[in-house]
Symmetry: C2
Subunit: 244 residues, 2 copies
DNA sequence: CGGCTATTTATTGTATACAGTCATTGTCTC
DNA sequence: GAGACAATGACTGTATACAATAAATAGCCG
């Protein structure tokens, strides 16, 4: 090769085979990892998410982390304050009310459409999800159960055939998980364990109105199970820790 | 100045006084500029948005542009294909149906709440917006009128007091503007010019149910005014331009 | 002359370096 | 001893440089 006149020039810093083709999926995986960690309360509301730390953990640079953080911010799972960085969103009581009101309007309104499109295969899939949720609850993994419950509601909304509304429901459910994590009672999950099974029954029978009414009560029950007391702010945990 | 030993070295790239403190507002302004350009059809569906070009136009680096593009992508105003870059979203007929179904559900469901919270000041503000919209329409600026109509619907939703649902309506209205730009008839704006005034009347009278029914008809009328024929794809505009 | 392949070019994806700002801590003064 | 101010450190905001890839074009072979 006659162009080998600059042997000192460092070669391509290709780390491994994964140049950047799989970067898309990797980013998606990291996004989901962080999202799940937030929803399952392994990252508690108020927790700071430093870019360097995340970049270090996941082995990519800050650029990719920022992208993910911005997406999470737009979904309101993390709060992005101008020069302070990112932190897990701590939902306020007002926001909680808005979210559950929105779920009332959208999810209930979707039930007739879902009932119309419900078939055997869909019902079976939903029953599987409901069973998995019960199982998680029985084995004491409440945080996991909260996420699985959200997954159930999202899948339901997707069955309506309206992708736009399903996406809205997805975001509302993520935020609901956060709200449950903050305002829910430790021992008591909002969703009664067989509520979802009953709902599937109504839907499978094609009874949209019945399902709508049931969903309304279901959501009201979850909201009613919350204790709307503001918990400690970000810092003064010390008071509580040392007993004053 | 004893440190003038390296006159060739380019100084700190501080362009002007605006180091980075006003960067927030600048980004927001650029975001709105692009968003408005899309909604007002100055950037037509399918148009490619190259990062370099945008960075050059707005005088910031690609980093900031990417951030804005990602935000627009999450709002589904631009489509981001993996290695092809960003382009203005070309809504499909299915998406259009989803969007208008979603508006039916959400905006109609919001009317009772809006009627309950409607006061004189709010009604006056809305009337001003409606008048401005009529004015734009009369002066032939149809694209501007579409955007103003969207603003009206968004403001209405904000008056419901539910910030979450108002944000959803905002996104739906942006997408609706895009849909109108693609599928609407050139001479005929979906919204009848005094529809909005009539609606304000019902709301001011506290008649939420009447307003709800009217909004439903209003949205149906807009949707019905669309001609759901797929236009030319992204490239073959040439066919149309040169008359085949 | 048409279709296929190789090269080139244009554009995005990613990392890194640098500068600015906020918070915290340490010190000095009242 | 307490409060204010200054210095230091940590973290984010932004730009730029480099590598990879897909599109476009030119060349070649059939």
């Amino acid at each position: 090769m006659s162009d080998a006149q600059a042997p000192e020039k460092r070669r391509a810093p290709v780390k491994e085979g994964k140049g950047s083709k799989e970067g898309e999926e990797r980013h998606e995986a990291i996004y989901r990892a962080v999202s799940d960690a937030i929803v399952e309360q392994r990252l508690k509301p108020g927790a700071r998410l430093r870019e360097d730390a995340l970049a270090d953990v996941f082995g990519i640079s800050r650029t990719g982390i920022r992208k993910i953080l911005q997406r999470l911010a737009l979904e309101q799972l993390v709060t992005l304050t101008p020069r302070r960085g990112a932190s897990v969103t701590r939902p306020t009581a007002d926001e909680a009310k808005d979210v559950f009101d929105a779920r009332q309007l959208i999810e209930c309104g979707l039930m007739p459409d879902v009932a119309r499109r419900m078939g055997e295969k869909e019902a079976a899939e939903l029953r599987d999800m409901a069973r998995e949720e019960r199982q998680a609850l029985r084995s004491g993994q409440q945080s996991v159960a909260i996420r699985l419950s959200a997954d159930f509601h999202v899948r339901l909304a997707q069955l309506s055939g309206n992708a736009t509304l399903a996406e809205f429901v997805e975001r509302l459910c993520s935020r609901s998980s956060l709200i449950l994590a903050v305002y829910g009672h430790p021992g008591h999950l909002g969703c009664e364990s067989h509520d979802h099974d009953d709902l599937i029954g109504y839907l499978e029978a094609g009874n949209g109105e019945r399902a709508k009414a049931f969903m309304s009560r279901h959501l009201k029950a979850i909201e009613a199970s919350l204790s709307m007391v503001e918990e400690a702010e970000s810092a003064p945990d010390l008071q509580q820790i040392f007993g004053g």
